[in-house]
Structure formats: C-alpha cells, structure tokens
Symmetry: D2
Subunit: 364 residues, 4 copies
C-alpha cells in the first residue's frame, strides 16, 4: 500500500464535538450506520464536505468480506460522493464553503512526481485513500485531503445522481478499459463482465464509435441491460463456449480490444483467448489471484496488456460530455435510498443479481 | 502457424537443373551442408538471391531441437542474409538482377490488411516463412517471395557483415524491446538476458538516451560485453537476488522499462517483479511455456505488457543510423566462417557460452 | 508535381480498338461527353475497371477553371468511382475480372518509402494521378495503376452510391480534418465551410464525440443541412463577426479544433483567430494563395497547424463503419444523374448554392 | 497577456524593511543594479528564494528594447535562477527554508485546467510572470509564487551553473523544438539559428539520435560552436542560398524536422521552404511580426507547424539526464560574472556576436 502517513494524523484531537451518522466497518461482515465524530480539518489542504449524495461500489463489498487488509475496523466506508463544502484548510484556494463539489475516488496532491505525470492513482500522499486508509463518503460529512486537486466544481445543470457516477465508475471504465484499450472507430470490442463497471465501459466505449461491442456475462438480465445500452452482440458464457463463439463471429480473427471487467482468472482467460493479432487487453478487474498468461501462444501476436488504477484525470472530459448530452450516467442507477437507509441499500446491492441492481443512489 | 499455402507450391518442377549447397534440416539434431536443387521463381513476386553473407539465429538452434513443428525435415534453414539478385519474377518492379540486397527475416506482401497496418509479421501470405515453411538463407541461393516489399537496397558503404545484422536481430531488439517498451530520455531500463538479442536491445535502447541501463544475466562474460556496449549496471542473477538488488538500486521504485530477452518463466518473472508503477514490460523472448502473471499485485500498477513478432518496419531507419555512424552492428560479431564451413559455425554458435559467441558471420 | 513518368506511357499503342464515352477536358471552360479510346493495360500493376458509379468533386471545377496546370487538354476527368474489374495486369494478385471495387482517389504502389509510411498521397509513382496526369473515372472505363493497393473489395451490402463517397470525400474529411485535428470526446470543434467536404468533416468528427460542433459558412441553406447532420451551433459568417461570436460562445477560450474546409485566406484567418491555447488547426482546403500567419499572436499559444493530401488509409475503417451503420455517407447525395447526362450534372454541381447541391451521383 | 491579478498585489505593504540589490528596468534602454525592497510572502503559495546563481536571457534584451509591453518601469528582470529557500507561505508543503532549488521560468498553480493538462505555460494565475508582470530573479532575493509546483529540489551533485540552464533555455529547446518537432532516430533535422536557444536545441535533439543535424546561421563563429556541439553540417545563410543548399544536400527531399530558433520572417521562411513531405516545423522563436505561410505550396505536403511557450514539464527528465552524464548544459556558458557585476554582464551579452557570448553566469 502506498504510504499515506503524511495525510493520516490520528493524534489531532477532534476540534468539533458534534457527531454525525456514518457507515462504519467493524471487521469482516460487520457494518453499521452509527454515530461518529464529525470530521475536522487536519491538514491545510483538507476540505470538509457535507455529503448530499453517495453510492456503494463493488469494492465496498470486497472490504466487507475482509479482502482488503488496508481497511481496518472502525473505518467509515465509501469513496464516491457529491456534496457541499463546509470548511476548508489554509491551502485550499480553489474551493470555498458553499461550493457544490464532486469528490474524486482518488486523492491527488498535484505536486509529487506521479501527480505531475497525471498518475493521480499513485500520488505519494494520496491515491485511493477515502474509505480505505482514511474515513470515506458514506457519511453525513467527510474530510477530503488535497482538496484543490481532488474535488471538482459542479455546474448547476448536472444533478447529484448523474454526478456521483463520475466519482469512480465512469472514469474507471473510460481510463482503464476504453482509453487503455485504445478503442477506435470500426473496432470490434469485447467486454467481459456486464456488471456496473462493464456496463460503464460499454457506455464510454461508444465515444469512439466501435463497429461492434460484444458483451460477455453469465447473467442474461445483465446482458439484456447491455443490449439497451448499445451492445451489438450478447454472449452468455455459462456454457464455456464463449471463446469459440467469439472466434467464430470474428471469422477466426479475434477482437481488437478485450476489456476485462470482472477480476478472476476465468474472465482474464477469455480475454487473452479472443485477442486478434495486434489487439489490446485492457484489465479493469480487481484481481485477488495470479493468472496464467499464455505467452507460448501470445509472444508473437503483437498484443498489449494493460492494468490501471483509475487516475480520474478524465473527470473534466466526462463533465463536458454530460453537459453536452453525449453521456447519461444515470442509466446505471437502478435503486434509490435515503442515506440513512444505507443498511438496506447494502442488502440490495449485495444481492445484485436477484435484485437486478446496478448502482444504488444514497441521498442525504 | 499462419497459412502460407499461396506461397508454398511444392509441385512446381525445378526449371533449373543445377544444384547448390545448403544447410538442410533432417529432423531433430540432424543438419548437414549438402547438395540441394537451386531455387527457381515460383510466383511472379519472387526473386532468386545469391547469398553473399548469412548468419545463424538462436531460433535455428530451437528448430534443431525439434521445438518448431512448422519446420519439417528437408528444409533449408536460415532467415537472415545479404546477397545479389540473380533473377526476378514478373511482379518484381523494385529490384533487378545484380542489385545488392538485404533480406528481411519477415516476408511481406504489402497488400493484405496486416501489411497495410505495418504488421508485416502477420502478413497473410508471408510473415516468418524463410527457413521455416519455405527454404531459407543458409544456402548458396534462396528464393524470396514478395521481393518488392521484403528486400532492401543496400548502399555500397554498408558492408555485408554490418548489413546482415539488420535482417532480424537489430529490428527485433528495436521493435519488440525498445519501441514497444517506449524507452525515453532519462528512463531506467532493465534488460533481462545479455545474449545477442539482449545486447542488440542494449545498442538500440541508447537511441533514446535512457539515464541507466541495467543488464541482467547469469553469465559474467556476457555482462562484461554489455558493459563495453554501454550498460551502466551489471546484475548477475545467478544467486536469485536480482529483483531485490534492482529494487534497492531504484530506491524501491522499480524500472521504467523491463525488456525480457530470454523467453523463460524465470526471466519473465524478474521483469514483472521490477516494474515501476506506470512501467512497460516489453517481451522479446520466444516462450515455449505459459507464465504466471501476478495480476493480484499488478492490477493497480498502471503497467503495460507487450509482445511482438518483428515486423522489420524499422530497417530503413536502421540503415540511416548505420550510414550516419550512430549504430555499429558489427560489434555483435564474434566469429567468422566461410559459408561452406557452416557445420563448424553451428558447433561454435551452439556452444555459445564456452565459445563466447554472439553472432557468427558466414561468408560465401 | 510528383513525378509520375513511370506510370504514364504514352507510346503504348491502343490494343483495344473499341471506343467508349468519357468527360474530356479540352482547356479552361471546355468539357464534353465524347468518344474516347477504351483504356488498356499498360503496366503489369494496372487494372481496367468498368465504371458503374462516379461523382464530381470540387477539384474538377477548379480544373475546369484552368487552375490546375498539371491537367492538360484531352484529359478525362474524375478521381472517384465504383466499378467492376474488366481485366488486370500480370502483377495484380488481389483482384480478378468481375470483382466489384472501390477506386481510391489516390494511387499507391505500396513499395516506395512514402507508401511504407502510409503516406500514399506522396507515392513516388502514384498519389493523385487519376483525372489529373492520367485519365480518370468520369468515363465508361478507367485504367487504375497499382491496382493491388489502390482498389478495395466492396461487400455486396454496400451500395454504389454509399461506396463512392469513400473514394475521396470521406477519407479526406476524416484524415485531413478530424484525425489531423485530433478531435477527442468533449472537444469544441469549429468547421469553417459547410460545403460537401466540411459536411463530411462534420459527419466523421462525430466518431469521436465532441461536445460541440460549430459550423461556419456564408450560406444559410448549407448551415441548415449542417444542423440536420449534427452541428450544434450555426454561425453565418457573412457579416464578419464570426470570430467575435465564437470567442463569446467559448467564453474567450476559443475552440479545441478548427477545421479549414474552404481554402482561401479569409477562412484560414477565421481558423487561426479562434484557436484555444493548445488547439489544433487542421487544414483541408486547397489553397491557391499564401496566407498571413499571425505568429506574433500564436508563437506562445502551443498550437499545431497541419496540412495533408488525403492518403485514403482510412478506407478500410470507413467500410467497417458503413457496414455497422455508424456512417451513412449517402446523406451527402443531393442529385442523381445517368453517367451519360454528366454534362447536366456538371451544370448542377457548378451552380451548387442555387441548386442546393452537395454530391451528385452518376450512374452508368 | 494572461490575467495574473490574483498573484500581483501591489497594495501589500513591505513587511520586511531590509533592502537588497536588483537589476531594475526603468523603461526602454534603462537598467540599473540598484537597491530595492526585499521581497516578502504575499500569497500562501509563495516562497522567498535567496538567489545564488542567475543568468540573462535574450528575452531580457527584448524587454530592454521596449518590445514587451507587459513589463513596466520599476520591474526587476530575470526569470532564471538557482537559490536557497529563505521562507515559505502557509501552502508550501514541498519545500522548507534551507532547501536548494531550481526556479522554473514558468510559474504553475498545479490546479487550473491548463496545469492539469501539463500546459503550465498557460496557468491561469501563472505562466511566464517572473521578470515580466512580477519581479524576477536578477536580484539577491526573489518571491516565487506557486512554489510547490514551480520550484525543483536540486541534488548536491548538480552545480549551480549547470542547473540554471534548466530554468528556461534547455526546457524551451527540448519542448518547443525537439519534442514538438518529434525528432526520431535517423531523421534529418535542420536548426535555423545557432544562438543559445538553437544550440540548446542541438544538444537536446541528440537525445533522439537523428542521422544528421544541419545548423543554419549567419555567424561562422556560432556555426563552429555548433560543430563542436554535434552539428553534422554547417550552413552559413548570409548569401541567401541556404534553402537551395539544403534541398541539394537532401537530394530534393527536404528535412524531416525544421526548428525555427530566431523569430523573424526570414528564418521562418527558410524553415517552411526546406520541409520534406510529412515534415514538422517546430517554432521556438519569439515573433514580433506575422509571417507569410505558403499554403499554396504546403496544403498537400502533410506537414505540421507547432508553436509553444515552454511548459518546463521536462525539468525532471533533464535533471535525470544531467545526473547520468548524458547532458552537459554548462557547455552553453561562455562568460561568468559576479551578480553585482550584472551591468557588465548585460553589456557582454548584449554584444553577443563580437563577444562570442552564449550564456553568461551571474553568481551571488
């Protein structure tokens, strides 16, 4: 895990005696909407944001399974959110109290070598810290470090529900999947995994006018959603013939871009097996295990495989596309809850297949 | 293997009753310098070239072990060569008898979809066919298909020994290693494998002024050669501490570019273990087995892994650099033989470590 | 003009005594649909194509004004066409009589240094020669040099009218305007000139999802067409306030990409005056005069200005996009004539504003 | 000029009653080394730097001619410098008093839209302000706004004289000339202008191994320096035959990259006249007048013309190359003075041809 010691300062005593409610993780399987101290400015680059809208990410479910060791008991979860600035530290020049903001899932100092390269994901004092190594956005208030370069002004015409999709899921799909995959007009693209992130890749891949988008999943409901979102071909991979069918559909050539949107060896394997000579395999999935890479078949195939933790550098681009009407992120929203009902929202999101849930909106 | 049926036409009877001598493969472990029919024009795009200089590639040793099933007994080996045009087919407009030419290891029709993209390696009727699915260059004469786009005019000031390094080894090192790795000024580059191809990567990486080139091998002799060729740090990986030492040298950051120049799981593993966030792993090695890719560590590291069969599209660039004196490919030559002594040359090249052999020159 | 002597061989006597009808240029202002010898194979790379559909380009009008000195009296005009192969020379391996083909406006040998770089426009024995230095496609038959790399197979599902838009106008708009301009999602693009080429740029710019496309012209009819084709803002520049209005619309920032689609100093001047810092000016227009470049204002603006003669390397991409339904090139067609009525078609096309003509189709 | 009102705050009273000496501009032709108030922190992002080394730029001479209207009487000149941090404002987290730093000629907030794109030159509250709209570095002390993202830590092994060449001249040459020109291995590069900036382009172009670098100037002394720095061909353009000679040298093809390093119509004209089809013209020169762009010759030549105010984003890369020994910037230094003798230094630098001056070093 990247060092975040400069940001975490547990010894600063709470200057704010007021409490709030927040979704607190207390170890594997344990979460509760419970009182917590209201956050306070600790570093001069901090802002305190009153959350108006948040959501739940698949990563939050991983945390609850105990799969993310950097998250320790007592942590407030959540790394996506929209809100209003309450107060700012002495270094915050780009925002003032009352500003309506989008919170990036990735905090960026804007100064370190990685930030200067646009690799905010690897910021030496930031990266993915919200709801991970510091308290997050599934709360009434959140402290956001490096506010100048981690928050975004929101124009009035973009509603909260739309905007919160730009905290993580859409930048992740676009950067890790579509841009890394170098989707171009006329391409054949396969997206393996029709969950929220795969569907977000489907929406953003269309910015570049591929000729075909093949959607691969084991869940027919999700595939039907994919069809409505613009997929040209649906492949249910349950029976193990997905690779064969894709190769047949492409007359043996394979696909120009394969986007891995699940994070397990089986789906990575589909991706590497359907890649055309010269193709790109863009990994989005969070992998917990190694995979077998068939270099004995791929060494002479002129392919590229990429990985990426989202940098959220495309948030300004996405805001423009929302304003112009080219992107309707709220399509991904299937369920809406009051923030205070977040426990129910987790139940629904955690049972996504049966509930036909994609993204759930939490409104404060 | 890519279909090459349009090129192979075994039924055409020899119109030339003369014989020549050639290095013929007769099954695993079996090679001989023996009489063979002189090649004749079979397709209108063919040229017949009288070989003046050839060399032996590591791939030829793989073939002799029986590891390359597309090579069948009776095949004349060799895919590198310099020579003089003897005759040309009706479609050959760019060359005429008497022209001195460089033979690319990859044959390209120049017409198919892959050739139009510059992916000559995957030409639908070409690619690596010489010394593989058709007879090759370790002979007094060779038939070269698609001559217009597979041969290169050689200026008088470039000698044979220099030029033959541009048939395969230097384009491979530059395209698959250096260009795919995106080496840029100031980078830290690690090259794993100091054999001929790794050393060629070392020579060509310097076109882009990296700050450091770390050379990794198990053979101290080869590492010393690397030092003379411009490596800034030598790492003997015999004791299994190469990864730890490289991470220490880079203060835990890892390298910007790791070039895999061996082709076995152990060296690939070094490469994936030393990659900086945002780094590139450029594979050159010919792999016979799958590797384990540690996506559980790499999924969030913003890396790219590339593979490539050489396209030889950089031959014109390399010719310019040889003419201007920026590149001295003959540095790679350690031994010289008459072509008629190719059996001895194979003995030497096959015992490279003891013989301290890099590239061996065969002169007709 | 690029040397084309290798292709022109006036001494070859006509082996075909039959005549055909063709649109012959006889000097400024003089054109006639008249008998001409049927073309014959002169070089082994040639094909003879029976034209089924052709069209007229703005360049043809320039020629008729006498503005293109490389076109000499007696020349058959036309560089766009669809047809059926009648016969092929000895070097033509990719096509055979009876094949239905798209004729690129640019002939490419596929062998020379420029062709190897994908710069077919500057092919040393090709480039724009059809209807220029050799006879063209506004005829019942045409000889196409370098057929292997200058013709394209047409799938049955693409009709002639659609396909002929891919000979020149759509590749030109996409390559010179959209790709050179590096249009990307969220961009503000201005296209100066709403004639056929500007409208083609408008259609192809949408492959990359710009947030806004501002269309600038002096003709309200054309601007209305632009609106139907996807322009987001229409600017009639007649009153000289176009620059001021565009700067106001962009809050003083200017546009990300300005595409010059006319070819006169006034329109180039609009483009250079509306460029944002970091912007791209992509010139499509054929210029007959120098322009004044305001480097005293632009030297510190981090801009790029590009020019290009179309290479038609995107024809395969465009064919995919037509097949997938992303592109409907026939939108550009406003008038249809029999090829034998080409004299009337020229009248209509030459009076485009009054006739509201964009592209006219000529069907044999 | 970009708005810099947020940075300039003339009403803040001096909290520091001490004075220093500085080079003050008092109108065209008027400069003096005179007492001035020591600068103080005005904005929380500021640092005060004690200058240890500075230098004079050609732009300073332009200012003294009265050619830069944004520079008003009373201004301390200078935008290059090395020094030691005296004090920092509340927002400065990356530097502390005592740190030895390199001052970029361009100030960057790191927050605005341009900074996020790496276009520091167009920072909305920065850009080139030092020695322009705020006091500069030709003084004993300087206030540097946006210190976090405008200063660079200097390792002990890089001396001041070397480092100060990285404030402006080397980043300008590399970014505006070499990177914008896309110099690549084997290219033929022409640099028009062998003054300090042209010579810096010559040094940095070699990072990419061009086959030939043609240096064009009217001063034989400077051309001889260019030869020592690696130029392969020297062209004295005094007699007006430079274009003809370069075209002859390139066998009529022209150069791949032309770098304009003067800033007048005549030198721009040489550049546009020698460009190969597909070539790049990278402008570095500061132009005071428009130029005539021959689009009637260039519209079909597939060229790119770029302009750029330096962003100094390559400073980290250059620091690596200095440390590794690939770059010896001190080669550009011809004269050395005490900072207190800056009046003499200006005399020398202002008479560069006769004095054979390139860069002059000022040491405090």
């Amino acid at each position: 895990m990247r060092a975040v010691t400069a940001v975490i300062d547990p010894v600063t005593p709470g200057q704010d005696s007021r409490t709030m409610k927040a979704l607190v993780y207390s170890g594997p399987g344990q979460r509760a909407w419970q009182p917590a101290p209201r956050p306070v400015i600790r570093e001069p680059g901090d802002a305190i944001v009153r959350i108006t809208t948040s959501t739940i990410c698949g990563t939050d479910l991983h945390i609850l399974k105990g799969d993310v060791p950097s998250v320790t008991p007592g942590r407030i979860l959540g790394h996506e959110g929209i809100g209003v600035i309450e107060s700012v530290g002495a270094q915050v020049s780009a925002f003032k109290p009352g500003d309506r903001v989008l919170i990036s899932c990735v905090s960026a100092c804007g100064i370190c070598d990685f930030c200067r390269k646009g690799m905010f994901s690897h910021c030496r004092t930031g990266g993915w810290i919200l709801g991970n190594t510091i308290d997050g956005t599934q709360a009434e208030y959140v402290r956001t470090p490096h506010a100048n370069t981690s928050l975004y002004h929101l124009p009035a015409e973009i509603d909260d529900e739309t905007a919160v999709m730009l905290s993580d899921i859409l930048p992740t799909a676009l950067e890790c999947g579509v841009l890394n995959g170098q989707v171009k007009p006329g391409d054949i693209v396969a997206i393996v995994g029709a969950g929220p992130i795969g569907l977000a890749a489907l929406l953003t891949a269309q910015f570049f006018s591929p000729a075909a988008i093949l959607m691969v999943d084991v869940d027919d409901n999700r595939l039907q959603v994919a069809k409505q979102f613009g997929a040209t071909t649906l492949i249910n991979s349950t029976d193990g013939t997905a690779v064969a069918r894709i190769m047949a559909l492409t007359e043996g050539a394979g696909v120009d871009v394969a986007i891995e949107a699940v994070g397990i060896p089986a789906t990575f394997d589909i991706c590497q097996s359907i890649l055309a000579a010269g193709g790109h395999l863009a990994n989005i999935g969070v992998h917990g295990k190694p995979v077998t890479l068939h270099l004995e078949k791929l060494w002479d195939r002129n392919i590229a495989i990429t990985t990426r933790l989202v940098d959220t550098v495309v948030i300004p681009m996405l805001l423009k596309l929302v304003k112009s009407g080219q992107l309707q992120p709220a399509k991904l929203v299937t369920h809406r809850f009051a923030l205070a009902d977040i426990m129910k929202a987790y139940d629904t999101f955690g049972n996504a297949a049966a509930e036909r849930a994609l993204k759930v909106i939490l409104t404060a």
